[in-house]
């Protein structure tokens, strides 16, 4: 424990900006020297794509090489640069502190995105993994509104996602492509990227309207009944699409234009996190928590419980629809089988793994399940033993998920870490 403590002490003076600078250095090293020099002299066939996890599991003889690569490219530069640069990143952070918090946060996020873009851009496989992870984040955060903040157990998220995916796909296919189902493009394809937000919003709106079908009959009941009704809704959506031959039926629908590059998805993910954060910290969000904890008491304190629940449910469904639309345009193919019980299991695993009632928890859950799923890919069948085992252990030791009922303080996260402050708060 001594080393960990010392480590924390040494790096406690590094502000967020310093870490960004360190990671940027690492990514630049990988970008310029990763393939030609570092991985070559370590005997690796290529730049290890996910920090070497894939190559280590596939060919154990590469383990030392991959670890050395991680050390040279990531660990040492990040730590060194972060520590050394804290001399000038701390004053920089202090300068940013004087700005309004939102501006400082935006500056930090732009830096973060630039680094992410550079890192992912080294390999298209990374881009795809990052894209699908971001879509998972939207999904998980949105399901957390219902299953976490509202405290219900809703199983209809794949259904909402399917509605969003299908509505937005139909719109883009109809408007921007020459499709065999919908005929020639109604609008010039060049307009696609500009109108895509509207298309996504339409998908989200469709999901929100669809959610009324669950909400109206089921919010007279609680608990198990909602779970059953919402599960039924999911199957109804799936079967309905399977039987609608005009949109491809069970064969699915393909050929969506590629309107969802990384920046677009990143933007929507940020928007989703920001809006949902504001929602759950608003008066309505607080009311939602009271409804979860004691509905009768909330009612007596003038909370309109029914309206609150409906709004939150529709809100969660809306973002699931957005996620579905993005998902469809990342894969450029959808079929109803994708939005079934398997997807539900995946979504619920992410949300309960990460933590209920916490946006940070949802992000952690979505990222870890996605990255684990990719990193353990070479293990094939054993992957499906390891991931559930991890989930079981999380459920035993942290029944509400890894990070539940807490939120990270953005101001504290971004502030300068001066030496003198250390004495105050160790």
């Amino acid at each position: 424990m001594g080393i960990a403590k010392k480590f924390r002490q040494i790096f406690s003076t590094v502000p967020m900006l310093g870490w960004f600078l360190g990671i940027l250095t690492a990514v630049l090293i990988e970008y310029y020297w990763g393939y030609d020099y570092i991985s070559y002299y370590l005997g690796l066939p290529k730049i290890p794509v996910l920090f070497g996890a894939l190559i280590m599991l596939k060919e154990p003889v590469m383990i030392p090489g991959a670890l050395a690569y991680d050390l040279i490219v990531y660990v040492i530069p990040v730590l060194l640069v972060a520590k050394i640069s804290s001399v000038f990143t701390n004053p920089g952070a202090a300068l940013l502190e004087k700005l309004p918090l939102w501006l400082s946060a935006v500056i930090h996020l732009v830096c973060f995105y630039a680094i992410l873009h550079l890192w992912a851009g080294i390999n298209d496989y990374r881009v795809l993994v990052v894209k699908l992870t971001l879509v998972s984040i939207i999904l998980t955060v949105s399901v957390n509104v219902i299953n976490g903040y509202q405290g219900e157990f809703s199983c209809s998220h794949p259904g909402f996602m399917a509605l969003g995916a299908y509505v937005s796909s139909i719109l883009t296919l109809m408007l921007f492509t020459n499709d065999k189902i919908f005929g020639a493009a109604l609008l010039p394809p060049g307009l696609g990227p500009f109108l895509f937000p509207l298309v996504l919003l339409a998908g989200g709106a469709a999901a929100a309207i669809g959610s009324l079908a669950v909400a109206i009959p089921s919010f007279r009941t609680r608990g198990d009944y909602l779970a059953i009704i919402s599960l039924a809704f999911m199957f109804i959506v799936k079967s309905a699409i399977e039987n609608l031959n005009i949109i491809g039926g069970a064969r699915g629908m393909g050929g969506q234009p590629d309107l969802a590059p990384l920046p677009v998805i990143f933007f929507w993910t940020l928007l989703c996190i920001w809006v949902i954060h504001n929602f759950v910290t608003s008066i309505l969000g607080k009311a939602l928590n009271t409804v979860r904890d004691d509905e009768a008491a909330a009612e007596s304190m003038t909370v309109k419980t029914r309206k609150t629940k409906m709004t939150a449910f529709m809100f969660g469904a809306f973002w699931a629809g957005i996620a579905g639309g993005l998902f469809a345009h990342v894969l450029t193919y959808i079929n109803p089988g994708m939005f079934s019980i398997n997807r539900l299991a995946e979504i619920l695993a992410m949300v309960y793994f990460g933590g209920l009632n916490s946006i940070v928890g949802s992000i952690v859950g979505a990222v870890s399940i996605n990255v684990l799923g990719e990193a353990l890919r070479p293990l094939e069948l054993f992957k499906w033993i390891i991931i559930p085992l991890i989930l079981i252990f999380v459920m035993i030791f942290r029944p509400y998920g890894l990070i539940s009922f807490t939120e990270i303080n953005a101001k504290k996260l971004l502030e300068a870490k001066h030496k003198r402050q250390q004495g105050v708060s160790p």
Binding site: I3, Y40, Y41, L42, G43, L44, P45, K46, V49, L54, V61, M62, I63, P64, G65, L67, A68, L71, I76, N123, D124, Y125, L128, V129, L132, K238, S239, E242, N243, G249, A250, R251, G252, G254, F327, L331, T332, Y333, N335, P336, G337, M338, N342, E374, R377, E380, L381, K383, W384
Partner: protein
């Protein structure tokens, strides 16, 4: 701090030592990607794919590598699990193309993965051969995507013609899964073909169910009462035994005919004697095979302990196709984009390729023109060649 520094130095020296063992990493190796459902709904299909690929690799290794343009290259298989999920198949393809630098990809098998994965392969200009996918969209407008099997619009009429010629029936019933893309498509094609032959309304019962249903008695009762003479059910090997048994229990006496999805090693195991004497259309027949086909079957049986199903045979043929295309490409430049294009061009030029599932030539779309086989399940439970039908 000193401890950390010492540790780092030790780690480096170990890494350098090991890496010298793996040094020859960057010479040109021919890598073939296999995108197979090793886990998920249809693991047996994934297993057959993997085994066929490993047998192929064995052959290449025995020959000391693959000879292209007078030079021998080492061959490596990159086997990725697509979990029987579309997005996972897309990820697997992207990874194999951008990370592993594969020259060609074999798979995915099911259409629901092959359609989106084909989009990726085409985008990155890498040859992909799906051995088993029958959805027209897989290869449609994709110059880099090919397939190893015939399409449903060909298979449906083959079955309809076979029943008419063999039994002389005029009234048929169809039972299919409306939620699954392959059975549904084939049921429609069969209905059209049958009605074109015997007139409107000659399909007297057209009944459907949904994936994972296990009780078909209401549909089968209707079928029995409809006066149909033959039942066509293009279902997968895990559903066929249930359908056949329940039909017999409900008093169905006519023949039951199926499609290539019946052709799995597990069908007879699950179905037992109830399935003996039934017919289905397929890509090849294991019992009574001759020549190369027999050699393949015997070898597979000896190594893995069971008769290969059509997925394994089609995968084998797809690999042979890929191999021939690579050899026909003339020479490898080592620049992967150029080599991939050369392989594609060579693949389109292949004519009358002699595979174990029949002779094939590719059409403009990348679909093969090849014969279908009608298989009879004989009284030993083996898949026996009965007749064949060519376009």
């Amino acid at each position: 701090m000193r401890k950390i520094a010492v540790l780092t130095v030790v780690a480096f020296s170990v890494a350098m030592f090991f890496s010298s063992l793996a040094f020859a990493a960057r010479k040109t190796i021919i890598k073939i990607g296999i995108n197979a459902p090793l886990t998920g709904d249809i693991p047996k299909v994934g297993e057959g794919t993997k085994y066929a690929a490993q047998m192929w690799l064995e052959d290449i290794e025995k020959a000391g590598g693959l000879e292209v343009g007078g030079k021998k290259y080492d061959v490596e298989l990159v086997i990725e699990d697509n979990e029987s999920k579309a997005e996972s198949a897309v990820k697997a393809n992207t990874k194999m193309i951008s990370q592993d630098d594969v020259l060609a990809i074999i798979g995915p098998q099911s259409s629901k993965q092959a359609v989106p994965a084909g989009e990726v392969a085409n985008k990155y200009k890498t040859v992909m051969i799906s051995p088993w996918s029958t959805n027209p969209d897989t290869t449609l407008d994709r110059p880099y995507v090919f397939r190893g099997c015939f399409l449903d619009p060909f298979q449906g009429p083959v079955v309809a013609n076979f029943i008419t010629d063999e039994f002389g029936f005029t009234k048929a019933a169809v039972l299919y899964d409306v939620a699954s893309d392959y059975p549904k498509g084939l049921a429609e094609v069969f209905k059209d073909a049958w009605e074109a032959k015997h007139g409107e309304g000659s399909v007297v019962a057209y009944e459907s169910f949904t994936t994972k249903d296990t009780d078909f008695s209401s549909q089968l009762t209707k079928i029995v009462k409809s006066g149909a003479q033959v039942l066509f059910t293009p279902q997968y090997y895990n559903e066929v035994p249930l359908i056949v048994r329940q039909a017999k229990d409900l008093g169905w006496e006519g023949p039951i005919v199926g499609s290539d999805s019946w052709g799995s090693a597990e069908l007879v195991e699950l179905c037992g004697e109830a399935c003996h004497g039934l017919f289905f259309s397929s890509h090849y027949a294991a019992a009574g095979a001759k020549g190369d086909t027999k050699a393949f079957i015997d070898r597979y049986e000896k190594t893995y302990g069971y008769t290969p199903d059509d997925v394994a045979a089609l995968t084998w043929d797809s690999l042979q196709l890929a191999q021939q295309a690579i050899q026909d490409a003339g020479k490898l430049t080592g620049r992967i984009e150029k080599d991939r294009e050369a392989v594609r061009d060579a693949l389109t030029r292949i004519e009358n390729f002699d595979g174990i599932t029949g002779k094939m030539t590719f059409t403009e779309e990348g679909d093969p023109i090849k014969c279908a086989v009608i298989v009879k399940i004989n009284n030993q439970g083996e898949f026996e060649f009965y007749s064949s039908s060519c376009p």
